[in-house]
Subunit: 156 residues, 2 copies
Amino acid sequence: MIYSFEENPTTEQTDEIYMREALKLAKRAFDEDEVPIGAIIVSQGKIIGKGYNLTQRLNDVTAHAEMQAFTAAANYLGGKYLKDCTLYVTVEPCVMCAGAAYWTQISKIVFGVYDDKRGSSKFGQLFHPKTEIKNGVLEEECSELIKSFFRNKRDK
Amino acid sequence: MIYSFEENPTTEQTDEIYMREALKLAKRAFDEDEVPIGAIIVSQGKIIGKGYNLTQRLNDVTAHAEMQAFTAAANYLGGKYLKDCTLYVTVEPCVMCAGAAYWTQISKIVFGVYDDKRGSSKFGQLFHPKTEIKNGVLEEECSELIKSFFRNKRDK
């Protein structure tokens, strides 16, 4: 999908638009009883990779949203480096996903809400030094989705 | 494959036997012009997951030996946790693989040689606190395989 804008949008506007796409995927995870995290990768205004958390369904700890999006984007590009791409992910990447992001040399990572437990920033600077990091985009919505998921789990 | 021993082997002996299996996979990576790293996962004397680095062939930075071995072992067990398992890997896991190992809650990780650049120990303690770590098993062979790979690359 390529977004067309009548006027030049601000970075804040495009970040929110893309984060909303990631949120849609996170909601799909929620509906499938997976920890609701979604991710997309954008290159030149086009979504070239998507993923949402599937660790339960696939019985696979490596099936995080970001990991699937990295694999899909690299597959789309025909190369494993994502140098001119941006990852939008609803929750801060964990150590594993930050480590994978490092290898992709991705240009930019935008996330919604910090993960206070396994978010990679708790463990130092694990991203590639050239990767730009931005947080807090649609933070409340990203946060509320996760909280609601675990609230439902506790109430069951 | 299940190994049967005439007498009770020492941990050192079994570690070497399993690391030799990981080395066989690393050599397969070498022959396929991939960075030569191999990994196996052992549970109760049985190899339940294998992998070798396929990042070039698959165009995928997430296709490290350990990641494939984790996925295979979880698939074999029908559950994503590898609590009574040991990972044998020829080279120290990177940040991504250490992060994945954390999620598996694997019991033990045995590796051959430290990775001075992206080995996870350079970035602090990223493994699960309950995971036992051992290094230096068949260190010279594991190291020589990697060095030989990059020597060949430089000479080309």
